[in-house]
Amino acid sequence: MENLGAIAILLAFCLSIYSVLSSVVGARKQKPLLTISGQRAVYAIWALLTTASALLVYALIVGDFRLAYVAKHSNRAMPALYKVAAWWGGMEGSLLLWAWVLSSYSALVVFTCRNKFRDMMPYVTAILMAVQCFFLVLIGFIENPFQVLAVGKGITEVPDGNGLNPLLQYWTMAIHPPTLYMGYVGFVVPFAFAIGSLITKQPGDAWIHTTRRWTIITWGFQSTGILLGAGWAYAVLGWGGYWGWDPVENASLLPWITATAFLHSVMMQEKKGMMKVWNMVLISATFFLCIFGTFLTRSGIVGSVHAFAQSPIGKYFVAFLAVGIAATVYLILDRLEYLKSEAQLESVISRESSFLFNNLILLASCFAVLWGTIFPVISEAVTGEKISVDAPFYNRVNVPIGLFLLFLTGVGPLIAWRRSSFESLKRAFLWPTVIGVMVMVGAVAGGSRHFYATVSFGLCAFVTGTIGMEFWKGSRAIAHKTSQNLIAAAVELTHRNTRRYGGYIVHMGIVLMFIGFTGAAFNKDGTHDVKVGDKFSIGRYELKIRDLLDGDNENYSWRKAAVDISVGGEQIDTLEPEQRVYKASRQPTSEVAIRRRLNEDLYLNFAGVTNDGRNLAIIQSYVFPLVTWIWVGFYVLMAGTLICLVPPKVKMQYLKTETVGYVKQNVPVS
């Protein structure tokens, strides 16, 4: 069985090389048979990798502990869900997942575009398969998931595996890596189309129209993956943090930021044919940051809690990145003429310039995170002295940048394309500014002595005001014209231009998330050694230990506390924080108890037992104000993203009269 898996990967590797060569040669020499064969190879690779993945998952489920990977990441006692999740629980498997997701995407792209872009598609295929080839080298020759333990040569047969890292045995963690990978890998596709159109010098922006939805969906996956990771950290790690500026967290944030910048600046190219070079640079940067992120996660070059597996694959990544970046830079420089801007800036006060600033700030925050992530490595190389770059650094640098970005989120959409006058700006900003200032004054009056937090609340109100005004004014105009009520008019408004109003809803989601982040300025915490009957308090809550329990099952031992929560003498809830020790890995984990409310979360962690002979339970208690708004904001953001994907209700009939006589390639549906 392992042989079949290994052969499938090897054959997929050979076919990926073949596909690159046949596509390029076929395109150069005008041999359609060759390019078709190259596209067929994409399907074949998908079938082969699906086989390999299925075999690995099968081995994990039945517990074939002859395989090193299975022995390391699975055990008999694990629930079936986590046995499947062990597919991406380790290095080899997660690289296989990467390759499989890429092959699925590639097959999808080749299939949906089978009748389109005759001159560009071979190059798109070649780029997809070149990336595929790189990952197949890693899986096939360096980190083979089908490695068999050499039973007999000093290794006795393995009766049971180590089990998946217990920290990862949590449902959001089971789907966090694949979601993130669907994001990471998804950005390969727009990149391939961008480079393909650059190589063949396609007229117009066909690559943007074709990959627009793709980019938005991928961006949605990336956002979901990041938030799932944050939600996992919050609920599992036991200290209520959702973001720790860990190198691997940063690695997932970097391409998300550049992709966000791309989604904005690409509008300039669609609307006016400007910023073509910049968009090329952004999509390439996003792609390479995705590869870089995988590299950071997998090479362990920067110490990280996520470095579950470390191996010498780093140098392959460095080589791939170096060659890829050099080739991309050469291509862009060589084709500057093709990427020339078609239009000019009419005025400095215009939507165009607001996009310039938005891009600047997004890129600056991306750079600050990247810089903080790699600075310890640079510093050690230059000065020979180890230093730490921890949360305080990121917070100090990124909080002001983030707040400025929030400000721009409010300002940008109110400025008209091409030109705007101070007069209309004054009118547009009057009420949002008043609301923002009022909230700031209210916050200070309410006792906020935290500068950034106060500013953040004010800005959140300001941006909410601008978004509300946009919806209100638009709906009112439509309601007036069609005599609908305001709600129906708002739906109609959104339906007419789903991308814009969906985008506003995404902005609203970001605002809600900022409210949640800001709440962190008012966190409270405490740690207490307690026995049954003890009482303590945190914030407005009084806590009383009602009971302490323990027990075990075949997967883990556990113990927990039953804590009665009361406010003002009245009992409102009971929480049961629990600690587990997994038997296979002998690793303790916390099953924290959280009372989630919109205003604040009460968060209890059973942290352990004192070993001073008194055997008291150690309970860590926290109050996290507003943290729920991060997750609420995320749902709003996803809703907005989905709305962006709905085709807008626009009658495009004038197109038909013009296109009779020849076949239209792609009807733009902006």
């Binding site: 650094f393 323990d550 055997n615």
Partner: protein, 165 residues
Amino acid sequence: MSQYPSSSVAMRSFRPFLLILLAGLCLAQQSSDMLTPAIRRVGDRLACLCGSCKNTVATCQMLGCHYSAPARERIAKLQSQGMGDDAIIEDFIKREGKRALAAPPAEGFHLLSWAMPFISIAIGLWVIYLFVKRYQRPASAAAPIDRAALDRYKDEIDKDLAKLE
């Protein structure tokens, strides 16, 4: 959690076998709440060096953390000896090197870590300035409008546009 066999005996102490299992995993677990505001003030400037942790000595919540817990005690001890914040920080740097600091010190080469993000913004602003200068249409020269062409197609455009609304 009720599906697991649970002992609902109210315990004064935990079962011994669990304690043995846990003893090796959790070193020196004391909740001793060492986080007075004074310790927090100093601890916020010191990195927790317990491995992959990105927190400070003040914010690391890992119980029995083999770095931050002793570090907090040390801060308390030095403070009781009357040492100032900076002196305590100096003491930590002497013992651990510069990596004891939570963020790079603003001196020498490390100044770059703080400066670069803002230098990048400055460079970005400059690039935007160049971009605007290069692409902005001079205010005096109005957009070149080809009146003849416009008139020729005006009807068609108006008709199509009316259809769109």
